[in-house]
Amino acid sequence: MSGVAVSARNVTKRFATHRAVDNVTLDVAPSESVVILGPSGCGKTTLLRLIAGLEVPDTGEIWMGDVQVAGVNRSLVPPHRRQLGFVFQDLALWPHLTVGGNLQFVLDSLRVPRAEQSERIDEVLRLVRIEGFARRYPHELSGGEQQRVALARALVGRPRLLLLDEPLSSLDAELGSAMRGELVRLQRALALTTVYVTHDREDAAVLADRVIEMRAGQIVRANDTRPTEERA
């Protein structure tokens, strides 16, 4: 598995009435940006949640680097130990904590020394361009600002893999376009392995090094969108 940041091998996930993910195999290289594209109900979010450890596969394996993190009906490495960043579709910001509090929670969970936390919080807020927002509460922010906070929270722990579930779906066209550019900038600046899920082809075209199309739980197409000279 060396040379691969995350790998799903023959993974299937069933719910009561259907197979959400049907025998899917997917490899993501280090620093690669992969977009999983498909309509609602195609299984893309379920696949993302399997990678994150929020679901366990009914068949198959999931690896992160050289470590198997999930097997049949079991999680071998729980989500909080997979060194992930995850931006949820509804952002899932903790409303009772300030922006700084949301970030500090992550650093406390990772046992980052208090002396270092302030600097890391400031750094990531600068990175996503919301310096000075640390003392505000999520409900005091605009949609775009909340999006940036969710991104900052996903990045502050310095994850080795960033997962984003429909990150732009709740934004208007103008804001969505601006955030697309931001996401591309951040991904390249940090050389972070990133997996996005979206139903929007335009988002996929801009964000992805490689686009994986899913239908009815299966991968139907994979396109490498990078210029030929950049491909491996």
């Binding site: 994150a52 450890g53 929020l54 729980p78 989500p79 909080h80 130990r81 997979r82 992930l84 960043g85 995850f86 949820f88 579709q89 509804d90 899932a92 910001l93 903790w94 409303p95 009772h96 929670f105 992550v106 406390d108 969970s109 990772l110 929270r153 722990g157 997962l163």
Partner: protein, 406 residues
């Protein structure tokens, strides 16, 4: 109450009768049905009524749109009130009305016939199961709900606001203001505060301490049960709701008999029996279900994605609970604590059976002295009990009002 207001005892025989017991129980359980109706009404989308008002008069809309939408919840509340009334011991006992639960109490406390007491209890248990099952089937997941509801308010209420407010005030006056006024008037006839407290001071202290400890114990356990219920899948959750309702509806005398059967035995288990811990166990057995349902309702408003966000951020389950979930349900925890405290402070049916020798709570004290003590003393103690119960309720009402205004 009526006799005292009228200034004579003409109706005193009526006061100790089945109709009087029915009236008192109606007033006691009225808040349950009122709150269930309020929740059901809040869940109605006002646009549904508006769509009907375009073509029909308000009375017609009420009969054909609003009430049918609220009917399942109202019916479920009625069924629960029915089973609570059938299981009630304290009110009929105080009004000297012989009911089924009196037979259970007598079988154990007077005849020491444990087997007979349990046999008599079985039909009530079966009834509780059946009623709880029907109630949960009627309202489903809405059994675990809060006062928050549709973004649009029911429209018809605006037409009848003044009438509804007047009716609510009248019921509140009947259920609360009049009895309190009567108690105050009666209590003023007491010789002195010292005379009232003499012999009852320890019972008062017991009630305060035990209710506080009991409510804290109940919420400490109910927090986890409530969380589990809120996060459980639908079918298992509905089964849990049935069990919760049954557990709450089980007559207090049955709970008391059961606790005695469980703990009154030789060995380490028997060490608990005969101590004040039996009161706490009784409160847990009786009030854990309603506290768990209250906390479950509050927990449902914390999206699961927030817990998942904590998990992928590096937090284990305990940290997620302590820093993400519990802080957001603190009003639910407070509500559950106040409910448990109020119920524990006034609890009689279990307490009178499990009380250690020489120990009493305020309700037990009132129950045992009512026949041989001047009414003014009993009224004073009852007024004290009412005041203690009202205080946390007023605080909670204030906290809820602040939350609603946001």
């Amino acid at each position: 109450m009526i006799a005292t207001l009228a200034g004579h005892d003409l109706l005193s025989d009526w006061a100790y009768s089945l109709p009087a017991a029915i009236l008192v129980l109606s007033l006691v359980f009225y808040p349950l049905s009122m709150l269930a109706t309020e929740v059901a009404m809040r869940r109605i989308d006002g646009r549904l009524e508006e769509a009907a008002l375009i073509i029909a008069p308000p009375e017609f809309v009420l009969r054909r749109v609003t009430l049918p939408l609220a009917a399942p919840a109202i019916l479920a509340a009625a069924l629960i009130v029915f089973v609570l009334s059938v299981s009630e011991f304290g009110v009929p006992a105080l009004l000297r009305v012989r009911v089924y639960t009196t037979e259970v109490f007598t079988a154990f406390a007077a005849l020491y016939d444990f087997s007979r007491a349990m046999l008599l209890a079985l039909p009530l248990l079966v009834l509780s199961f059946v009623v709880a099952g029907v109630a949960v089937a009627l309202v489903g997941d809405r059994l675990v709900s809060t006062r928050r509801g549709s973004a649009t308010r029911p429209v018809l209420l605006e037409h009848w606001r003044r009438s509804a407010e007047a009716a609510a005030i009248a019921v509140a006056a009947m259920a609360l203001a009049v009895p309190v006024v009567v108690l105050i008037r009666e209590a003023l006839g007491a010789a002195s505060v010292r005379a009232v407290l003499e012999g009852s001071g320890r019972a008062i202290a017991n009630s305060l301490g035990l209710a506080t400890i009991g409510a804290t114990a109940v919420v400490s356990v109910a927090a986890w049960l409530g969380y589990a219920r809120a996060r459980t899948r639908r079918r298992i959750g509905q089964l849990a709701d049935v069990l919760f309702v049954v557990a709450f509806a089980v007559p207090s005398t049955i709970v008391g008999v059961g606790l005695i059967g469980l703990w009154n035995r030789p060995g380490l288990v028997g060490v608990v029996y005969g101590t004040d811990l039996m009161f706490i166990l009784g409160y847990l057995a009786r009030f854990l279900p309603v506290a768990a349902l209250t906390i479950a309702a509050a927990t449902r408003y914390v999206p699961v994605s927030q817990e998942e966000a904590a998990a992928v951020s590096g937090a284990g389950w305990l940290r997620t609970m302590m820093r993400i979930v519990l802080p957001q349900v603190r009003l639910g925890l407070l509500t559950a604590w106040v409910i448990a405290f109020v119920l524990a402070f006034g609890e009689l049916g279990v307490s009178i059976l499990v009380a250690p020798p020489g120990e009493a709570t305020l309700p037990i004290r009132i129950y045992t002295i009512i026949a041989n003590t001047p009414p003014s003393h009993v009224a004073a103690l009852s007024l004290l009990q009412t005041s203690v119960i009202l205080a946390p309720l007023v605080i909670l009402a204030g906290a809820l009002a602040v939350r609603e205004s946001r």
